[in-house]
Amino acid sequence: MSKIVLDPVTRIEGHLRVETEVINGKVNSAWSTSPLFRGIEPILKNRDPRDAWMITQRLCGVCTYVHSVTSVRSVENALNLTIPGNARVIRNLLMGAQFIHDHIVNFYQLHLLDWVDVVSALSADPAATVTVDRQIYSGRKRTSSFFSGVKQQLQAFAKSGQLGPFNNGYWGHPAYILTPEENLVFMANYLEALKTQMQVAHMHAIYGGKNPHPQTIIVGGITLNKDLTSARITEFKNHVTSAQNFVNMYYLPDTTYLLGRYKDYAKIGIADNLMSFGEFPQSSEEPSSFFFPRGIIFNQATSSVQPVDVGNISEHITHSWYSGSGSLNPAQGQTVPSYSGINTSGQYSWIKAPRYQGQPMEVGPLARVMVNYGKGQSATVQQVNSFLQKTGLKLADMYSTLGRTAARAIETKVIADAMASWAGQVQASSQTLTMPFRKTFTMTSSGSGLGLNEAPRGALGHWLNFSSQKITNYQMVVPSTWNFGPRDASNVPGPVEQALVDVPVADQARPLEVLRVIHSFNPCIACAVHVFDPKSKATFEVESL
């Protein structure tokens, strides 16, 4: 038996430490630790609820936007506000753009180097690389001189002796199985995606002012007015078309091909329970009009999607650095930060352990895609079936590292295609000085509200309480809290800790296989660590949906 500590886990958002215990070449136990505590919730206290979105948005600059929209939803819920249709469509477009951006960056910039060996790419034959490139997607027209150029660029980089971010990678590891030509294609696409993500972010700038941290969200709707012209609407549509082209030509075929080469990952990094809050309201009827439905799958039972009742959520702190009771509803948590060092049999993380009906739930792309599939969401069903047919895999294989990575590409395709239609529904401003796409309202003195959202990384909830127009309590249960939380009061591991069990480790000094599983969850740890003011005894009634 031996212990492997990965700290820092890189190519993620935020700070994460993962410890594994390896027996006979396989992970026997794993512990997920967040070593950073920022304490955003106490900062929210005593502020105007209408300002909260500015602060919550800064939970994360990677999954930017998601915490702002969830926050304004919690205030709108408290005030019983229905936003104008144009604001709803634009918010959906901003959210969709966030999905496309986030997923492309995860696959190419954060995850790809787990599967692709940069050093091997240096010995690729450019002519043979063209054949591989067109095998992945027949419509690609890149020539051997193009690949020769990419290879030269990488060679010049290697020769300079300044390997920068590629220095000390696990190159040459036996778990890298791609040919030099395959590696070169994917490195070319790594560089291509760097440019594409920059273009995709323009969508946020058009309807949000800038990216990261778009600024047009406001309680009651959106601020956009003078700049919401027909020219802008066309500009946005053109970006959607470009994004669709990239997904069709690169992201989806690259993912399908790569995972087809790494099929053993259909049996590694297993998922059991999945939860999605659902997203993209198509009318003011929520959640019934959601494009992605709300639902829960227990024990891989895809055909039996259950309804979600947020009253069933509890948060455990037995293994987290807080003093207080072990298992409480988000409403009643009495959490006092109390760091005591890493003790895997005691307390070892700043993340709490959320549970649904006492069970760990994985959230994110896999949860959404399987819930969509179980509920018969037609675009998802079609894309999943196509992926399974091309790779020769079965539906049950989706509950894995492979499925998680495939689901991300599949839903990007589904969302990008839907956005092409949504982008046509946006109305230009009539250019009057009164803000046209925001509902006016009377701010109440006190209230409570719940904002739910499906962020790219999964189910997200904000719980708000205020009186005298000041926040008295603000709780956030975020995707990476669900996925990367520690063991609960019954000592049951969190979803990532569970998924890491049985992962093979060929070389303990270079635990590449462990990284593959971790990155398939696309960790976002800055979001995951929160606590509210221990002195606040404010109570909060959780609404059941």
Binding site: L6, P8, V9, I43, G164, Y170, H202, G209, R438
Partner: protein, 308 residues
């Protein structure tokens, strides 16, 4: 033609080589050089010099540290103007340590940091993103078993140029706002007054960051700084004084816009390839580049025509 004479030679060849290899067009490249000259307030005669600086010499080593942060500054950096983010990463700077981008993890990653600091001591550019938690002996933020404070104390003083990127590193930012429990401090404060160049903004503008690097490559020196340590080329005048809506009926000053009290070049440089910026998107300036902006009162004037 004096300009053409300057343009003969190795530099020209290098530009050609770069253009051929990377599918970057000469026009895009020169446009980028023009943007840098404009941002730095330099005359057009500097454009070929910027081109030369960008294609010559070894790549300056960068060590990028992430402390109590949200990774928004990194994300902003990744939006560096088309077509140059891939080029910036592979050909302009040598990014020796950056946890979001680097291939290695765990001990291998820490080795990259240790090796780079020792190899380039006194020569590397250090970028810090995020503030540094000081309460509880620094235990609110750990990387690789060390506190963020310990890492900063070891690495930052060895840098040739220390850049506090974003409002958190420059002023403490959100973790240091009222109500915070972690004793977060800006880099300058946490490291006993260590001199740093401050580039605040939430997020900071990647064009200004690129211009800071170009300025160094061009003059081997820091740009002119104000008394708060901010480069004057980016933070020399208020948002309001440069705003396209100033003195028009669309001015947002009556709705809590902080443009008049915020020093930043947002209206001219804008964001995401000049696509837009807050006021253009009808959102009053929040003053995100000013010290203490999280605690300067509500972000909107709720008695204005926002209707509530």
């Amino acid at each position: 033609m004096e300009k053409d004479e300057k343009f003969e030679d190795p530099v020209e060849d290098k530009i050609d080589e770069m253009v051929t290899k990377k599918g970057v067009t000469r026009r895009d490249f020169m446009k980028f050089c023009g943007l840098m000259a404009a941002t730095l307030g330099l005359e057009a005669t500097y454009i070929p010099k910027i081109a030369e600086a960008l294609v010559s010499g070894p790549r300056p080593p960068f060590i990028w540290l992430q402390f109590s942060e949200c990774t928004g500054c990194t994300e902003a950096f990744l939006r560096s103007s088309s077509p140059f983010i891939d080029d910036l990463l592979l050909n302009k700077i040598s990014l020796e340590y950056h946890e979001t981008i680097m291939a290695p993890a765990g001990e291998a990653a820490t080795k990259s940091l240790t090796d780079a600091v020792s190899k380039y001591s006194g020569k590397f550019f250090c970028v810090v993103e995020g503030s540094i938690p000081l309460a509880g002996s620094g235990n609110y933020g750990m990387i690789g078993g060390r506190t963020m404070l310990e890492i900063a104390q070891e690495v930052c003083p060895q840098a040739k140029m220390m850049i506090s990127l974003g409002t958190c590193a420059a002023y403490g930012g959100l973790p240091a706002a009222t109500g915070g429990l972690t004793g977060a401090e800006c880099v300058h404060g946490a490291l006993n007054g260590l001199n740093t160049i401050k580039m605040p903004g939430c997020p900071p503008n990647p064009v200004n960051f690129a211009a800071l690097i170009v300025n160094y490559l061009l003059f081997s020196d820091f740009p002119k700084l104000d008394t708060l340590g901010r480069p004057t080329f980016a933070y020399g005048s208020t948002v309001h004084s440069q705003c396209q809506r100033r003195d028009t009926e669309w001015c947002l000053e009556g709705f809590g816009c902080r443009g008049p009290s915020t020093y930043h070049n947002c209206p001219t440089v804008k964001y995401n390839d000049k696509t837009s910026w807050c006021v253009q998107a009808d959102c009053p300036c929040k003053g995100c580049a000013q010290p203490g902006f999280w605690d300067n009162g509500s972000f909107f004037n709720y008695n204005g025509s926002y209707g509530d």
